[in-house]
């Protein structure tokens, strides 16, 4: 369910979203971004890891759906911290909240902080995104 963008004041918390890094999802992502390094790392290490930016993209996906961003909204900046590798097949939950809101030059700027946690409740990803929305 999306949120009216006008209601996204500082401190607003989005409902948590869960998502899975299943094999098909990871394969589709790797093909889309043409990533050769992660598969090589997995072959060498004998572990099937999800690309860290896939974890971030899927965490953001749920957030964007919850925000109900209007067409034309763009990314201004992005921060990520990858706390640990995420294995293919893991299920995660993402949580996000509005950390800052301002308006300038016909754009609404929102800074949203987020984290993704594993099934034990441990944070595997933390991040902050700034989004610019034309007004």
């Amino acid at each position: 369910m999306s949120t009216n963008i006008e209601l996204l004041e500082k401190g607003h918390r989005f409902p948590p979203v869960s998502f899975a890094l299943d094999e098909a999802t990871v394969r589709q992502y790797l093909e889309a971004v043409e990533d050769a390094a992660l598969p090589a790392l997995c072959r060498d290490g004998g572990q099937a890891w999800a690309p860290p930016m896939a974890v971030a993209a899927l965490a953001l996906r749920g957030l964007m759906e919850a925000m109900g961003l209007p067409a034309g909204a763009v990314h201004g900046s992005q921060e990520f911290e990858f706390r640990r590798p995420v294995a293919v097949g893991e299920r995660l939950a993402s949580r996000a909240w509005v950390a800052h809101r301002s308006q300038r030059s016909g754009w609404l700027a929102l800074a949203v902080e987020m984290e993704a946690t594993d099934e034990a409740g441990q944070t595997v990803l933390a991040g902050r995104a700034s989004v610019l929305i034309p007004q």
Binding site: W49, P52, E81
Partner: protein, 153 residues
Amino acid sequence: MPTRSTSETWSVGGELPALSKSLTQEKIDAYARASGDFNPIHVDPAFAAGTFFGGTIAHGMLLLAYLSEMLTAAFGRAWLAGGRLKVRFKGVARPGDTVTVRGKVERVQDEGRRPDADARSGRPSGRLFAAVECVNQEGQVLVAGEAEVRLDG
């Protein structure tokens, strides 16, 4: 390319393994399907033509995926376990563009011997900071920022 993650291997000024990608609308559409981000600014040429950008643009997260591939190639598991990335989007990539991601080590903080298992192994630890960017075929900087990884000897 073999991955490297030791502070002995990397020194200030060292260049990360740059890589280039050619962008097409088909690749942007494929990323939209993989990420679930179907913002029309990325996938609807008719809509995008009427916006500030005048046409479709690649997802910022697609460019970050290219940066992440470079950082995975450079630092291996260290990038997945403790990597940090902080970037600003300064320009847009469009279908037909060739983008290149590159980076250079800015500083390496030696944190000495760890007071835990690493101390027993005698391996050094520290953090490495690299300036990273994504540029287009004209050299215009599209994404710029800093990546950080933990070095575990």
